[in-house]
Symmetry: C2
Subunit: 277 residues, 2 copies
Amino acid sequence: MPASDLSDTSRLAIHTQTNKPWTLEECLAGYSAAGVRGISVWRHVLEPMGAEKGGGMIRAAGLESVALVRGGFFPAFGESDRQKALDLNRECLDEAAAIGAPMVVLVCGAVPGMPLAEARKQIAGGIEAVLPHAEKNDVVLAIEPLHPMYAGDKSAINRMAEAREICEKLGSQHVGIAVDVYHVWWDPDLEEEIELAGQGGFISAFHICDWRNPTRDLLTDRGLMGEGCINVKRIRGWVEDAGFTGWNEVEVFSEEHWAEDQNDYVERIKKAYLEHG
Amino acid sequence: MPASDLSDTSRLAIHTQTNKPWTLEECLAGYSAAGVRGISVWRHVLEPMGAEKGGGMIRAAGLESVALVRGGFFPAFGESDRQKALDLNRECLDEAAAIGAPMVVLVCGAVPGMPLAEARKQIAGGIEAVLPHAEKNDVVLAIEPLHPMYAGDKSAINRMAEAREICEKLGSQHVGIAVDVYHVWWDPDLEEEIELAGQGGFISAFHICDWRNPTRDLLTDRGLMGEGCINVKRIRGWVEDAGFTGWNEVEVFSEEHWAEDQNDYVERIKKAYLEHG
């Protein structure tokens, strides 16, 4: 793990989805050229070559796999769909191990029409069910609380508090929390919850981007740090005060930025990271 | 106040903004024709004739003014802008009194770049500052917790808990909470918070609509009850168990529904209310 230094990019990682137009190969070339050392790998970029070969490419490029993104989606109305979700998460854990990533990020899931309390129960149950496989692979299941605007169909875990409760219940070093500023910045309990998560040893990941005003789309209008209203530096301070020494992962879904030259964009990501991250 | 009866529309009110294409006159004609007895009045529909005359039109049509919508927007970077906000809220209170509405709904405000904790402080201070004017007019300031996706620029009060804390702090019968299912349905603490709000006597209003999956726009893609994933009936049950006996106000912002014939739409609102509200 690189040492903490606020004036360099040694702890900067980028999610491949941030550069959605790029293949894994292009991400590796682009990040390497820019001196970015960490890569969080979205599953679909591994599809063309598979996780084994993809992992070899990442290592050969001198980059470090920060996370496999993403597992989860546990709740379902039928038992067979719930079993499929468990199998999928076990696959994710195998893929993470294959690329040398220490965690799988979990978008926990939600099903329109299913009471959120039931979805939360199925999520905790699903994580518990795949936990032995996570332990076997020595890969952490990192619960990412998602913004409440995704409670309808993407995740019934929408605050740090609910993620922490699952971590406390399962009490395993292989279950943690991925703190993404986009999802949790508005939470009045954020500082306290980060402190509690730190005390429990639950903070597995820190994702950064910004919240635009106005936000023009629920999914693909995130901003680069400095383009919105989130005080990323302050939240990063809380996370580091809570003992987190890992990567700062830039995860930006943005039609606007995806339309730009991706090499130029990576340079702007670095600049934004140094100024506002 | 009409008696509670789940099989009729005696407690159904509609926000004029639900029928955005309509003037106040058209709303009054449309609601009357449909047997809808309550109207929540957005300020701009009063502009052409003023609140005094508008209030007379509402009474003449045999409808009841449920709320004036909306005041708030307290936080600002400069003192003079904060004073302007207070003046605006006093105007709202006067208008509410003029149309016979027992409350002003507050969208409390947020300013991009202002820390949310500071915005929350200014909101509590702003409500306290206009409270004497509310008491003089015998009009309630109804704090509406807004969905966290509006924390950047519309309201720094995003959960029932923060609204309740302001109510508890100010301890006045003229400060309450407008519970809108669209904003709070996702909150894991919702049932408990509704109970607490009921115990404090804070529930001033109940707004209903639905959350669509997917939601295509952050502002204008609300659904009619039954078009989304919110269990409105269950939340209404909690609110009534907490002692609320007021109106069920349909507040739907929807480009889709605004494009329809508004008389037909009011009939569908009634149907949706009886089936899913």
